[in-house]
């Protein structure tokens, strides 16, 4: 069953579907604006016990229609395309966020170790009175860990805002490398130039603009990311979906928990939150502590390397950051709270010409010491849907997962990217809510996968079809366009067909995906790569046979093994009105089969600081969960009980573990360097919000804090703390 109406649907059926959509949107709006809760929806019978939208005519798109026959679903009305053809607009490169030296002089007020609780007036609609200017929980527990040791050297500042024109677009590449886009031209928030401009509260992005934002940093250079919340104070000003409170997760930063974007550490309009990203190699305090290994390093700005402590086998390259607001992550990320973050190191320098025996010389460019973006391209894939007026639209009522019918790349609908006849690196992020992609080139030419989840693989893997990329996974690939002639085009094609948001219904052959016969509008070509010229200088980039070998954990004893089971039909054991959620999805932990809904006040696991553990993640037959474990990179030891089932492209380090239907993943991780409360959850963000998420925290980090940690309870007037609602047995 597809959730989309067939192309030949009658006007009556489309009208009925549109009415159903409007009815649902009223409920979505009321929910997102806080007029009703998810508990209310259950109580009123509008959600089934399984979490789906009740089978009610005029509400659920799958209700059998009087105009339909048999089991043909009513479906949703298709997004209007306003006569636009695919591949009729250039793909914009990411908009690079300004890096500002000396954060203490640049930022006002200057950043502080503990949250800045200077009081400011709170709008009456948020309760009035006064509240702190910084939304970070106050006091020593949420102070930046090792602040004095890693004082920020770079400030990056952004404000979450409603849609507005971009007059400061900075792609950091010339127009010739950005498909001819003139960055000095004001860019309105449109997913296609011929589509309507998005209303200010239809889209909420970093700085309120598109293209999506890119942060850049190098190892050994601590960053202070100040995130202002400039969203409307009135929670109802959201055009029907999205929540104005936010928490920003640097996925998968190796930072202290106070900077992780904990789901319960959200902040309000008018506040900011200082996220401190030290950018250290994992093992900073236990491996290569004297910083003698030349492979553990950072670009020094003049062609050399600044050696740093830590394990260079833990070097990371491609991150992203996004909202993690409890129960509203799907809506907020979909609405635009998603950006990417490139990390640069001695190994992955972003300079293809420096030949020092350390630098891998991956496709990038050569003009700058590090961070050349000329041939190093970020791609964010996200499927969207639009209402009849062309405004971004969202539907929470399919708790299987939301699917859009318009695939965008860098928030542009099916664009064209101009390339030269040479090698390019593409950092591909699946920034969707529930859609998986399986990518091939339209001529089936080989691609070289070099990274998975932001980590360079031990060795490159040559593929003609990438594996399915789950939500939040990142695949770094290299494509060599020298095989094509100037004027030729090749397309990226999605082979993964969905019927629902639960999982891919089937992978199509390339022929079938190109045929246009799929009922899923997300299948087929989504990005044209047009070869426009020969490179001006020879391509000296490389794809070495050895990239970054895995850290060897075999000699580190396993302190504990844990099993987590991800399932539906969850129950809730707590009733805290702030931290406890209700939904069909949940996680069984602590050695039980008791599947529990999320409660960010519940502590479900407490690995000890400095140890290594093995975690087994179990899925179910009817769905595929991309499970994200915060903070530490893991290595997959087995799938379905055997290392032989782990393909080469998953033999590096990962932070999102796609379970596959009825699958089981066994992985190992260390817990080092930083402490606090972190999360584990499904990154199908609809599953996460409904309520497949748990909190775990690192015990005995040496910090003089209570264990388990008290739970932050944010309000506009300040953050209070409560004891955990529940601590599951170890």
């Amino acid at each position: 069953m597809s959730i989309w109406l067939p192309k030949k649907a009658s006007k009556g059926r489309i009208r009925e579907a549109e009415n159903a959509r409007k009815n649902r949107q009223e409920i979505v709006k009321a929910f997102s604006q806080g007029q009703i809760t998810r508990r209310d929806l259950f109580k009123w019978g509008l959600f089934t016990v399984a979490g789906g939208l009740a089978w009610k005519h005029g509400l659920n798109p799958f209700v059998r229609s009087a105009y339909a026959s048999g089991n043909i679903p009513t479906g949703l009305p298709p997004s209007p395309l306003f006569g636009v053809l695919p591949f009729s607009q250039p793909m914009p490169r990411f908009d690079v966020l300004q890096r500002n030296p000396n954060p203490f002089a640049f930022l006002s007020p200057a950043p502080t170790k503990e949250a800045n609780t200077t009081q400011q007036p709170v709008p009456a609609i948020l309760g009035g009175g006064t509240g702190p200017i910084e939304g970070r929980p106050g006091g020593p527990i949420w102070a930046h860990q090792r602040w004095e040791q890693f004082l920020p050297q770079v400030a990056i500042e952004a404000t979450q805002l409603g849609a507005k024109n971009n007059t400061t677009y900075n792609p950091q590449v010339p127009s010739s490398l950005n498909s001819g886009i003139d960055p000095s031209t004001s860019l309105p928030v449109k997913f296609h130039p011929a589509w309507p401009t998005q209303a200010p509260n239809s889209v909420w992005t970093f700085n309120g603009t598109i293209p999506p934002k890119l942060a850049m940093a190098r190892y050994g250079e601590p960053v202070l990311f100040r995130h202002h919340n400039g969203l409307p104070a009135d929670v109802t000003q959201n055009n029907g979906f999205g929540r104005h409170t936010i928490s920003t997760h640097e996925h998968n930063g190796h930072h202290g928990a106070e900077n992780d974007g904990f789901t319960g550490a959200f902040f309000f309009p008018g506040q900011y939150y200082d996220y401190h990203w030290p950018i250290v190699l994992a093992g900073h305090f236990s491996v290569n502590t004297a910083a003698t290994d030349i492979n553990a390093g950072a670009p020094n700005g003049s062609g050399g390397i600044t050696k740093i402590p830590g394990d260079w086998h833990e070097t990371m390259s491609t991150h992203w950051f996004h909202d993690h607001m409890f129960s509203f992550t799907a809506q907020n990320v979909y609405k635009g709270n998603a950006a990417m973050f490139n990390l640069y190191s001695a190994k992955d320098r972003g300079n293809e010409a420096i030949n020092d025996g350390v630098n891998l010389r991956l496709p990038s460019g050569r003009a700058k010491d590090w961070g050349n973006l000329d041939y190093d391209v970020n791609l964010m894939l996200a499927d969207k849907a639009f209402d009849s007026q062309g405004q971004l639209s969202f539907d929470i009522f399919d708790t299987d997962g939301f699917l859009g019918d318009a695939v965008t790349v860098n928030l542009a609908y099916k664009p064209v990217f101009q390339v030269e006849r040479r090698k390019y690196r593409f950092r591909i992020l699946n920034g969707s809510v529930a859609r998986f992609y399986k990518i091939a080139l339209s001529d089936a030419s080989p691609m070289i996968q070099i990274g998975n989840d932001g980590n360079l693989l031990p060795a490159p893997v040559t593929l003609t079809q990438l594996d399915q990329i789950g939500i939040a996974e990142r695949y770094d690939i290299v494509i060599d366009f020298s095989r094509y002639s100037v004027g030729q085009s090749v397309f990226m094609v999605n082979l993964a067909e969905h019927d629902t948001g639960l999982m891919v219904s089937r992978d199509l052959s390339l022929s079938d995906a190109l045929s246009g016969r799929s009922s899923d509008p997300g299948v087929g070509k989504f990005l044209e790569l047009k070869v426009v010229r020969d490179p001006a200088v020879p391509d000296v980039s490389q794809v070495p046979a050895v990239l970054i070998p895995n850290p060897d954990l075999s000699k580190i004893p396993v302190a504990k093994e844990r099993v987590f089971e991800f399932s539906d039909r969850a129950s809730q054991s707590t009733t805290d009105p702030v931290s406890s959620a209700k939904g069909p999805w949940g996680i069984a932990a602590a050695g039980t089969r008791n599947v529990l809904n999320a409660d960010f006040g519940r502590v479900s696991a407490q690995p000890k600081f400095g140890t290594r553990e093995i975690w087994t993640l179990k899925g179910g037959r009817n769905w595929d969960h991309p499970i994200h474990i915060h903070f530490e990179e893991g290595q997959i030891l087995a799938r379905e009980g055997s290392l032989a089932n782990v393909p080469a492209w998953e033999r590096g380090r990962k932070d999102v573990y796609r379970l596959r239907p009825d699958g089981e993943v066994k992985l190992t991780m260390q817990f080092r360097d930083w402490g606090g409360m972190f999360m584990e959850h499904c990154h199908n963000t609809v599953h996460e919000d409904n309520a497949m998420l748990l909190r775990w925290e690192i015990n005995d980090s040496g910090a003089p804090f209570l264990r388990p940690l008290p739970t932050p309870i944010p309000t506009p007037q300040g953050v209070t703390f409560r004891n955990p609602t529940e601590v599951l047995p170890e």
């Binding site: 959620a581 037959r621 309870i713």
Partner: protein
């Protein structure tokens, strides 16, 4: 403050409209729907067959004739909900298939595997693409071939019973 960011004394606009509408929905249309289902088979069905496979991939710098045994492994997943569709996770391994260049007699190797996810039907025709390159050369020099398989399952047991395959040139 509750989970949805509301202060108890917070002034809400239009606070009553949606609940009233929803309450009417709930009253008129009744209670929730329960899904109850049981799997046809108690556990995943694992099976594997070897497939003798041959074929020629034409193109530059030379045509390559492939032969060997492909291994097709299947894991059939029955749905556990009413209306669900049985699915199969395949793993197709071509590493025991190799090629010989028509003019240089160079040996060509294939890496893998490919892991397609399909709906479970009695007979399935599946086409995958694969990279191959001269043995000892860099995988970065890879070319592309196409392998087509006809797979037959026992619908009752879920076992993969037979398979045939051929290798051809890509023509997309």
């Amino acid at each position: 403050m509750n989970r949805n960011g509301k202060e108890p004394n917070m002034k809400m606009r239009r606070a009553l409209f949606a609940p009233v509408v929803l309450a009417v929905f709930a009253a008129v249309f009744g209670g929730p729907l329960c899904w109850n289902g049981s799997p046809a088979r108690a556990a995943d069905v694992l099976s594997s067959v070897g497939v003798a496979i041959t074929g020629i991939v034409t193109g530059q710098p030379e045509s390559v004739a492939f032969s060997g045994k492909a291994v097709v492994s299947s894991r059939v997943l029955d749905p556990t909900v009413v209306g669900g569709v049985a699915a199969v996770v395949l793993q197709i391994n071509l590493t025991a298939v190799s090629g010989v260049g028509s003019s240089t007699r160079t040996k060509y190797v294939i890496t893998g595997p490919e892991i397609p996810f399909r709906k479970f039907v009695g007979s399935d025709t599946l086409e995958i693409t694969f990279p191959f390159y001269a043995s000892g050369a860099s995988p970065n020099t890879a070319r592309t071939g196409v392998a087509s398989f006809a797979l037959n399952y026992d619908l009752a047991t879920g076992m993969l019973t037979s398979a045939t395959g051929t290798i051809t040139s890509p023509n997309f």
